[in-house]
Every structure is written in structure tokens, then in C-alpha cells.
């Protein structure tokens, strides 16, 4: 172990670890976006709003259950479910009538929805910012190499990432709904012609995608202040990640999130003032060399 750190300073290493824990959030949110893009062909701008709603719901649930460990675990389960329920209503009442529309229309429609969601959040939770406490089990830090503190919660995120990735893999490759959705991504008409009610498959995929957005919101909540507007920066990042990885490819979302998270955190070390531009540059470079993203797109 020591030999690695003789090349790489602990600072850089810790920066990478932090980049990775940020990647987890980005991955979870953008994999949901990618799923919806790939199967339903909806560029869902409102995805960011669902992430924000997830965070606000986490706040409510956590406080309902007293804000301790229990509150956090309940939030982790209930808030994504709440977001899923909301998205289910939206899908059945709106989206299911729009699958045949042009992408641009869908983009605008979902943008309109994100405006509506934004104001609804303001109505329900008020405009002030909220804070979700880190659960007691994950409070504090552990000392990595050379006594550098690394928050246990970030470590928890690092563990959650692979778990979600594996669950997603199982879902898309081992379950019937996953297989159907992969087939529907390419040829929805034919899926209907083998006796499957595509409309409900879409509803389920949409809900799963949104559930991931909500989950991302819950996981990020304890590390930041939960505010209106947290959807704006995230949704653009999520879109860029999906585009970079290849539309509709969940693994592309993982790869894209890795690139995005790491260029961002390492970029800060290289050129702090313009660290913000590195991820965008990465997207530009990727798309110049691979115009349809790094991995195979389902489009």
C-alpha cells in the first residue's frame, strides 16, 4: 500500500475518493434518467425535480421518525417510494399519452413540469432550506492513510454505489420486466405483438427510473442543505453524463458519472478557479471522438 502513496499524494487520493462518492450520487440519478431515455425515449428534464423532491421527502420522513438512525433508514425506504408514487401519477395522467410525440416536445413538456414541481415544492415545504442529519451510525470520520479523515457517510455512499449498480444489473438482465424493457427499448411495437402490455411496462420503467432519482435525493440529503434549485445544476450534469455514456445505456451512465465526478474533483486540484469547466470539457472531448457516446446507445 505504502508504495502507491509514494507516487500519489494522500491529498490526490482523498480527492479521488471524494470524487468517487460524488460519482455514486450522479450515477444513481443519471442511471434512472438513462433508463427512461432508453426505454421510453423521454428526455425527462423533470428528473432533477424528482431528485429534489426525494431530498425534501427525506427531510420530512427523517423528522417524522425523530431524526435519528430510524429516521434515516425510513427516509431511505419511504422517500424514494413517495417519489415513485408521484411519478406513477404523472405517468398515468400525462406521459402515457405522449410517447409518440417528438423529443423536443417531450423535452419542453418535462421542462414545464420541472417548473411546476419547483413551485409545488415551494408550496409544500416552503422556500427555506432544510437539513437532514447524518444518521448516528455514519457520523464522524475514519482516518485513512496518513491520518486524513474520510467521513463515514461518504464511505457508506461508496458502498451504496456498487450495490445499486448490481441491483440494476440484476433488474435489467435477470428479471422478466428488465428483459422486456430492453426489448421494448429497441422495438416497442413488436413487444406489444407478443402479448405484453407495453403501456404498463413503460409505466413500471418510468417509476423505477424516478425512484432512482428519489433515491439519489435521499442519499445526497445528509451531506448538503436541501434547497429549492438543487435540481437545476444536477439535471444538466445528469444529461451530460447520459449523453457521454451513450443514451439509454445504464453502464454508460456509470462510466459517464465516473468521468464527470473525477474530472470535477481532480480539476479543482489542477486549476481551482476554473475547476468547474473540466467536466464540461470532458464531455466535449468525448463527443468529438465518439459522437454517440462511449458505450452503445439504444437509440
Amino acid at each position: 500500500m505504502e508504495s502507491i502513496f509514494s507516487f500519489v499524494s494522500p491529498g490526490i487520493f482523498s480527492q479521488i475518493l471524494v470524487g468517487l462518492s460524488r460519482t455514486v450520487i450522479l450515477f444513481i440519478v443519471s442511471s434512472g434518467l438513462s433508463l427512461i431515455l432508453g426505454v421510453l425515449r423521454i428526455p425527462n428534464v423533470a428528473h432533477g425535480s424528482l431528485y429534489m423532491i426525494g431530498a425534501f421527502m427525506a427531510y420530512t420522513v427523517a423528522h417524522l421518525f425523530g431524526g435519528g438512525n430510524m429516521g434515516f433508514w425510513m427516509a431511505l425506504v419511504l422517500a424514494p417510494l413517495g417519489v415513485a408514487a408521484l411519478s406513477f401519477v404523472a405517468e398515468r395522467s400525462l406521459f402515457q399519452f405522449l410517447y409518440e410525440r417528438e423529443h423536443l416536445m417531450l423535452l419542453l413538456l418535462t421542462f414545464a413540469m420541472s417548473l411546476v414541481f419547483g413551485d409545488l415544492v415551494k408550496l409544500v415545504w416552503g422556500a427555506e432550506y432544510r437539513s437532514v442529519p447524518v444518521p448516528q451510525v455514519f457520523q464522524g470520520y475514519m482516518n485513512l492513510f496518513g491520518g486524513l479523515p474520510f467521513p463515514i457517510y461518504s464511505f457508506f455512499l461508496l458502498v451504496m454505489g456498487p450495490i445499486i449498480a448490481i441491483l440494476l444489473w440484476l433488474l435489467t438482465n435477470k428479471t422478466k420486466i428488465g428483459k422486456i424493457s430492453r426489448a421494448a427499448a429497441v422495438d416497442r411495437e413488436m413487444v406489444g405483438a407478443v402479448g405484453i402490455n407495453v403501456s404498463w411496462v413503460f409505466a413500471i420503467v418510468f417509476v423505477i427510473g424516478c425512484l432512482l432519482a428519489g433515491l439519489g435525493g435521499v442519499l445526497v440529503a445528509p451531506t448538503v442543505s436541501v434547497t429549492l434549485g438543487m435540481d437545476h445544476t444536477l439535471i444538466i450534469e445528469a444529461f451530460l453524463i447520459v449523453i457521454m455514456g451513450g443514451l439509454g445505456n445504464v453502464w454508460g451512465a456509470l462510466l459517464g458519472a465516473l468521468i464527470f465526478g473525477l474530472t470535477q474533483s481532480l480539476g479543482i486540484l489542477v486549476w481551482p478557479k476554473f475547476g468547474i469547466v473540466f467536466p464540461y470539457l470532458a464531455v466535449v472531448v468525448v463527443l468529438i471522438f465518439r459522437p454517440t457516446g462511449l458505450l452503445k446507445s439504444t437509440w
Binding site: 422478466k176 428483459k179 422486456i180 430492453r182 426489448a183 427499448a185 429497441v186 422495438d187 411495437e189 413488436m190 413487444v191 406489444g192 405483438a193 407478443v194 402479448g195 405484453i196 402490455n197 407495453v198 439504444t298
Partner: protein, 229 residues
């Protein structure tokens, strides 16, 4: 089994089918013949509800099914094999069969593989990597998984090597033997005549001829004018 009664079908503004009427009796293999662009595929899609007709009615086993969604029709016993195959390229052969809605236990994977032993050997391969003949077998196998009573076969031999065409003809005849009614559309008249008992000839969206195979063989004018033989 199937009664199509005076349907008119459009793609957007363009009028494709004009007053198409046809009938498939139980256990029968009926041919829908005509050249490219004559309206064969559209007829199939109209029956399957993919491009629902704007006029006319379709009944299955005496029950009207006009305007029902494709998945409901499949669940009522219509299997559809499209002309461009459309296997689920991302999935392996097994999964292609697994995701089909099974309305009864009549047909399962074992029985399907029994009919197409070649498929069983390649069941873990991705469908997109199969040859044309294998893909064609897979689409038929896929339709069979729903235990259909009526099978719509849209140009199953198109673009296949003669040897494979012969195999396929055998398999289709075996389906007929187990009592599945089949509506078979073909450009390749020679091949079709081996399998069918009755034929409709379609051209420019209109049924121009209907009758037994023997009657068709005898009708030189229809053959020359619409089938180019």
C-alpha cells in the same frame, strides 16, 4: 376462425387498403399473395391491430376484435411473425422466448425447441448475431410461445437461401398438422403454393382474386397480371 370484413387502412394520409375482405377457416393455411408493396404487410398489421383499420370489421372466432390493442389480440390467440423479423436483438434466444406472454401451457420452450432443434443449440446467443434463417425460426418460435390458434406469417421465406426455405416450409406444414390456422403472405408464389390450400391475391390494396389453389393455377390472367408468372 378469422373474418376480415371490408377494411380500409391508412398510413397517415395515404390510403393503403381498400375494402379488403378475407377469411381463414380453422386448421387452414391461406395464402395472401401479391408483389412488393401490394398491401400484404399492411393487411397483416391491420389484423394484428398495429395499424388499425379506419373502416370495416375484423372478427376472431365470432368475436369482434377491431381496434383492440396488439397485446390483447396476442392474448386471444393471434401470433404475428413480421416480414422484417424484428427479433429482440439485445436479448439471447432464450430470453426472446421467455418474455413472451404465455396464454396457456400448450406450447412451452421444450416444445418449441422440439420443433426447431437448431435454436436450442444457440439458445444463449444474442438474437442480433443470428443468421437470417435462425432469426426467422426465432420469430416463429416466439409467436408459438403464446400458443396461438391463428398465425400471421408475413413473408417468412424472404431473403433466405433455398435450402433454408425448404426447411422452413416443412416446419410450417408441421404447424398446420397440429391444427394451427395460418395466414401466409408471400411474394414467392412457388414456395407458397406448396403450403397453402386457398389463396387471396392482393394488388394495390385491393383483393383481386380469391379461390382454391387449383383455381389460381388455372387462372393465367391473374397469375400474369398480379403475380408476374
Amino acid at each position: 376462425m378469422l373474418d376480415v370484413n371490408g377494411i380500409d387502412t391508412y398510413y397517415g394520409l395515404s390510403h393503403i387498403l381498400f375494402d379488403v375482405t378475407l377469411k381463414v377457416n380453422a386448421g387452414e393455411v391461406v395464402g395472401l399473395l401479391g408483389r412488393n408493396g401490394a398491401g400484404k404487410s399492411t393487411t397483416m398489421k391491420s389484423i394484428m391491430g398495429i395499424v388499425p383499420p379506419r373502416k370495416g370489421t375484423i372478427t376472431l372466432k365470432g368475436k369482434e376484435i377491431t381496434g383492440e390493442k396488439p397485446f390483447m389480440l396476442f392474448r386471444q390467440g393471434i401470433g404475428y411473425v413480421p416480414d422484417d423479423r424484428r427479433v429482440f436483438a439485445d436479448l439471447c434466444v432464450d430470453d426472446n422466448l421467455d418474455i413472451v406472454y404465455q396464454r396457456s401451457k400448450d406450447w412451452d420452450k421444450e416444445r418449441v425447441y422440439g420443433l426447431f432443434p437448431a435454436l436450442k443449440e444457440i439458445k444463449t446467443r444474442r438474437a442480433g448475431h443470428l443468421s437470417g434463417g435462425e432469426q426467422q425460426m426465432l420469430t416463429i418460435a416466439r409467436a408459438l410461445m403464446g400458443s396461438p390458434e391463428l398465425l400471421l406469417l408475413d413473408e417468412p421465406t424472404e431473403g433466405l437461401a433455398p435450402l433454408i426455405v425448404r426447411d422452413l416450409e416443412q416446419q410450417i406444414l408441421r404447424l398446420k398438422d397440429v391444427g394451427i390456422s395460418i395466414l401466409l403472405s408471400e411474394q414467392n408464389v412457388r414456395s407458397a403454393l406448396k403450403m397453402i390450400t386457398r389463396a387471396y391475391v392482393i394488388d394495390n390494396g385491393r383483393i383481386r382474386f380469391e379461390g382454391l389453389v387449383q383455381e389460381l393455377e388455372a387462372n393465367e390472367e391473374v397469375k400474369r397480371k398480379y403475380l408476374m408468372i
